[in-house]
Symmetry: D2
Subunit: 269 residues, 4 copies
């Protein structure tokens, strides 16, 4: 890769500050929560539990990209309202996906950190629009995108005016079908070599297998990731979406316990 | 694949009629023209030459999806005006890409057939919007989409109200780097088995290599494709975009000559 | 690819002559027959039927590479004896796989053309050994090998002393699971550009789907392939191995009928 | 995967004992050393340095699988003699690749642990032969093999009589070219779920990038791997083979220091 194709991703590691929390090379950011928001109570319950564990970021989907037109598409604006309410009540920072350019203006008022999903990584019009807002943006790697294309997606947002981009590795599509996607763990050191942006890892979508989340989370942290994004619910078997890859709160506690031994490998806190 | 996931793609092959031309299993549709529209004169020149060869459809890009923010993004609305003018003057049918949901209302007035690019195949909001227009829609296969996901993308458009969908195989991403993508020729018989929609093939983007276009075009027709979409220009070496995969008019004539021997394999005209 | 890495594959197209038949760029070679030899009678019956259709080459497996140790491994030497007997009785040319270096000396006495399977393409010791025999060698592409690696596999055989190498595209492994492998049709023009060796196509293993063989065979011929290798049996549903991808004799007749229209595209006979 | 396809890989984790060292789920096995043996002195020097760090296993290639016939093929039997001499002098355990069935009888006398390379994972004749020897066998994953095919390769060896099989993940081939292969870190928890065999990781061949070895090694250990296989040399830039992926002794020391913090995540020593 010619690094010269990137104007904006060299120099000191980027440090993003939001509601008193820092995201970047010297910190570790844990984001957890349900795949899809189903109702206010459940979202609130999960967030409160996460906060008790010392987690500052919660996620939850209001708009979903669904392969089949016959699947549940999310609660939409109602979901956004629940997100905002829970964030206000708990003081936590919210993360949620924006699936289309025309939603950006609205969603940015409800959600702290906007996420671009894997199927939208090359939706350049959406990226340009996100370059015009102030919210930090998580860009998930396209599941068949090269590292270079992914960095260029970030470049679109930054060039358009928003420097606060976080990259999220979430697995790539390969011939192996035992896991849903193949977590490209090498992307972590690659991004740290090529870019100053924070790089986090989503072990849930990569594997599609709940029993692997602990192993993959620790692998990501040991590889030097700046954070994790994990689908978590107090009762994973009773969720409408992605329940096979969602962990419960007990496993999350185990993961965090292990992480604490790992963070000093990379001088993070 | 459970075929029952598709409500709308069984029964008699779909036949799309537009400006007196038919697209479908019993016909063969040749679409040619430049990657990107650079100016009115060149587009007009190409179209007139295509018409002399008996071709009824021309393509040309006004809005481009570019991996790098620092590349040429297309002429935009000016390009659309050229397309309309050339279509009106020649009586030909135009094909051009729509890259974002907010452009659909405008573009549908300028262009006959709207194309969804490979990076937008899973842009469900765009697909829903295209379900609300009357123009036929070409859906290029996502370069890492399964046949099932591609058929479901078509299903989004049809379920939303527009039955006139054409599928276009344009190569998938694999480990092989000699070609830009790997043309999945098996997708042609697969789509004919699973769906009643017309299936066309784009040998230009699949291979990225001008010297292969004749072989791949004939392969597609012999495999039973309902049409071809080929990047063509009177002077490929002088184009701003994709010149390595663009053929000149002489090669196109050769391809057509061969096609005429192939079409009766599948009882097409 | 640096073509200079190949010392032996430039210049005039290679023409292999065996028992009065020619294999190369100006000819078309049809090879058909069962996946595995089950008994003498069936092999003989198939061969006689093929000969009636004007086919000069028959295939049949005596040694099998089986992923599981608990699967049928082939008749071994008994199978070789059947092959030789059928070849002698019909005057046809036989093709069979050699799976290991220590079998070469023996098999070369029983079989006319030796085949290297996809899992052995990088078995360099076997390739070197085949460079020391006089029989022509078919090298199937490794299902995850690049075109460059495949040409280098041929180079091993030629450098070791045997110039009579035929390349066979048989599908590569990709993320798509609808077909067993993805037939890389672009490999046909690529090999013709880069090498003087004959290139044939195996549509049976590529697709794993009997109903696609006709489409893929015609695609291969239209793309310019120098031959086809097709699993064929008089009663495919009653074979022990690969029955889902084996065609019957009627379909083979249809394929041949179509081929005759296609061969003059490339001035073959 | 139907686990019932595996007769021999259930029950208690396998523990392999060799020269007083144990390999298995409760231990951590570090194997290091040069890609190719170039001469006795260098091999000896590396081994002595490894031993000083507390490492009990050294590797070195005497027979190489080379894609091009024009590349260095290894020292052959002379290399084996160096391996035996160094093992005898240092008391260390040696690991080296066997590339062909006819070499097994000889190599087993010189080398403690026999390695099957990625290109030979489906060389079933070789696997059967290794089932007849007493040396433990490392089976590297075929770079395009599924986890199921890999477990079945192990099954061939075990069914043939040798229970002492170690699996080694070494990267799979994907579309991403920034790294040489894509390390499939998920294979570690997958193998631990599906099999009782030890699973080790080779970060060197996976990435082809020296600067990533530390990150990937720690990732593997944190994911629960039972060992690492790392190409190491006292002067990597002066090696004939794979120098870009070979680390020096200082980096290896760093890796070991980190590992010691990680091993208690999985109760290993």
């Amino acid at each position: 890769m010619k690094e010269s194709i990137l104007k904006h991703q060299s120099g000191e590691p980027l440090e993003i500050c939001i509601k008193g929390q820092k995201i970047g090379r010297s910190h570790f950011t844990m984001i957890a929560g349900p795949c899809t928001i189903e109702n206010y109570e459940d979202l609130h319950t999960v967030a409160v539990e996460l906060k008790k564990m010392g987690i500052h970021f919660f996620r939850g989907g209001a708009y979903k990209m669904r392969t089949s037109p016959y699947n549940f598409q999310g609660l939409g604006k109602t979901g956004l309202e629940y997100i905002k309410k829970v964030a206000d009540e708990t003081g936590m920072i919210s993360v949620s996906e924006v699936v289309s350019v025309e939603d950006v203006e609205m969603i940015k008022e409800y959600v702290d950190i906007l996420q671009v999903g894997t199927r939208n990584m090359s939706n350049y019009r959406l990226l340009l629009k996100l370059g015009k807002v102030k919210n930090p943006v998580i860009i998930k790697r396209g599941f068949s995108s090269t590292i270079e294309e992914w960095l260029l997606a970030a470049e679109h947002v930054i060039e358009a005016g928003n420097p606060n981009v976080i990259l999220c590795e979430r697995g790539i599509r390969t011939y192996e079908t035992y896991t849903r996607y193949t977590l490209d763990i090498s992307a972590v050191p690659a991004i740290k070599e090529l870019s100053n942006l924070p790089i986090i890892v989503d072990p849930s979508h990569s594997s599609g297998r709940r029993e692997m989340i602990k192993s993959l989370s620790w692998a990501a942290v040991a590889a030097g990731a700046d954070g994790l994004l994990i689908e978590t619910h107090f009762s994973p078997d009773n969720t409408v979406c992605d329940s096979k890859q969602t962990i419960d709160l007990e496993i999350l506690k185990d993961i965090i316990k292990g992480n604490n031994k790992l963070l000093n490998l990379w001088n993070k806190n």
